[in-house]
Amino acid sequence: MGHIRVTGLGKAYKQYPTRWSRLAEWLIPFSPMRHRQHWVLQDVNFEIAPGEAVGIVGVNGAGKSTLLKMITGTTQPTCGQIQLEGRVAALLELGMGFHPDFTGRQNAVMAGQLLGMQVEDIEALMPDIERFAEIGEAIDHPVRTYSSGMQMRLAFSVATARRPDILIVDEALSVGDAYFQHKSFDRIRSFRKAGTTLLIVSHDRSAIQSICDSAILLEGGHMVMHDKPEAVMDYYNALLAEREGQTVRQELLDGGQVRTVSGTGEAGILSVRLLDERGRSIDAAEVGQPVTLEVEVEIRQDIERLVLGFMIKDRLGQAMYGINTHRQNQALEDLRAGERITYRFAFVMGLGKGNYSVALSLSRLDSHLDRNFEWRDYGLVFHVINNRQEDFVGCSWLGASTSITRHAHSLAERAP
């Protein structure tokens, strides 16, 4: 149970030049093909052993969702085969088919029926579902009165009420509050321990590296790599770097973030990169790793003074660290149009695990309020992972070195 085998899988969408050509193709016998095949996924082969956890990575449009949809069975492959053993549960679109006018309980029953369960089965599972969802009395109120987080909780609880043999998870899981996120992730982990095969799509490097046994990289509808998660993620990052940040921009939009670039434009930022010790571009750094933030700036008009500042923000937008060349007494003066400047800020990555973004500003003085040449949010997004240091708590790494002295309790001294 829990075995997945995919052989020669491909998916093409039909594209007809006009609406009439489909009709013509259907009605005229022996007529030539009038549509063009648009391949979104081609020649995908892999096998997942029971109990294995596999991550699927790739930029948007690489075919990840299409692959998952075919494995769950909502979309039919154009060619190739998928063999699944065991019961499949998919956490792709949670809360699909919830009817606002019915109570949470009624909707839970309905959602269970959509998964092929009978009413009696669901009734038996209901106490569990209620306990896990933790929405209290709201379970008997109409779903239209729910917050989206509550809907999520209920939907997740129903979808995972029974341990499936194969669990398919899309990154959509990152909704809901932090407490429930952890709770749901724990449940997924416990399923895995119990032998559930796991298939996860995520952009989150640490998620993939911490859970998965292997990862599959999709690129342009082809399977480029199937290897250890670290190897695949490194290759993936190199692939991203090769595209000079273009894809990184897509990633940003994907996370719901909007990059804001504003300013008068006398000077502009050409590129922002995070480099490791050997000068290679990375998008994930280890805690304690020496890194360099490299910013390339272009001068478009003559300006008398230029200050570059950067600020590292966490996932919630809180400033972690910010500095500018004015405060470092390194402001440049008398710049000519056409000049190019490379700034390198070297530091040791002292942040905790997580996602961070870098905002940048080009201005005349300390504050960008005076003259703002360019202000750029999300100039760069990077991850911090922790494989080298001990697993610590918090957003900054202080690298405490510990010395402990034990004092022997000498009974003899105290003896009267």
Binding site: Y13, K14, R19, R22, L23, T72, G73, T74, T75, Q76, V88, A90, L92, E93, M96, G97, H99, D101, F102, Q106, V109, M110, G112, Q113, L114, G116, M117, Q118, V119
Partner: protein
């Protein structure tokens, strides 16, 4: 093939029955009169037609004198036509309306037409039940011939389901089908002797209307309820054959296009 179809539907019986129940509840959930609206709708139509045709236009059925007879005649045709139009209209939109479900969740797609049929069946059962009650009270109970209602309805459902399936699949790929069929239904209604008796038409038009497979079916209902006559089974052979044919074509179309359908939604 049919066995595996049946088995997958059987596994999802909970979903099918649940959907039917839920749809029925959803329709009346926030209304005060609830299921009464299912009745009031056709009732108002019957009153309008009865008033206009029976009283204002002085239409009388040949050989029957009282005005009530016309109402019974009208009901026999109108209620069963209602079943026909409900199934076909709902069927042609069943895949489009459930696009979200089809795209996101994997379940036997054939559940959807079954849900449509069951829902239409329930609505029809309510109305026909009231109609039968009315016949009983007014002393027009058709007698033993009422047993013929079962095969007649089975025949009608066969025809509707086949036609509905074809329309439903085609409508996904060509949205014109839905628009076109709504117009066709208008003409079809008036080209079927429901509001008027077939016998008031000229001979050649009567022969022409025989080409309409519903003419004899609706006629059978009318004779059944009005005169308590058993249907002339041979006259229903064409609609039976056409119904089988439509079902075969519909299923074939469905099986061939079901995968492509999800891509189009």
């Amino acid at each position: 093939m049919l066995l595996s179809l049946y088995r997958s539907l059987h596994d999802y019986r909970g979903f099918i029955l649940g959907s039917v129940k839920r749809e029925f509840q959803a329709r009346y959930r926030n209304s005060l009169f609830g299921a009464l609206w299912t009745v009031l709708n056709p009732l108002s139509m019957i009153i309008v037609y009865t008033v206009i045709f029976s009283h204002i236009m002085r239409a009388r059925l040949p050989g029957v004198d009282d005005g009530m007879a016309y109402s019974v005649y009208l009901c026999a045709g109108l209620l069963t036509w209602g079943l026909f139009s409900e199934i076909t209209l709902r069927s042609q939109n069943m895949f489009l309306e459930n696009a979200n479900l089809l795209k996101k969740i994997s379940f036997p797609r054939l559940c959807l037409p079954v849900i449509v049929l069951l829902n239409a069946g329930i609505n029809f059962a309510i109305i026909i039940g009231l109609f039968l009650g009315f016949l009983l009270i007014s002393g027009r109970w058709p007698g033993m011939a009422l047993l013929a209602l079962v095969p007649l309805l089975a025949l009608q459902v066969l025809f509707c389901a086949g036609l509905g399936m074809i329309l439903g699949v085609l409508n996904v790929f060509f949205r014109d089908v839905g628009q076109l069929f709504a117009i066709c239904l208008q003409f079809w209604f008036w080209l079927t002797p429901i509001v008027y008796p077939l016998s008031i038409l000229p001979e050649w038009v009567q022969r022409l209307l025989q080409l309409n497979p519903l003419t004899n079916l609706i006629g059978s209902y009318q004779n059944l309820f009005l005169y308590g006559q058993w249907p002339v089974w041979s006259s229903l052979l064409p609609i039976f054959v056409i119904g089988l044919l439509l079902c075969a074509i519909g299923l074939r179309l469905f099986r061939r296009r079901v995968g492509e359908m999800v891509d189009e939604l």
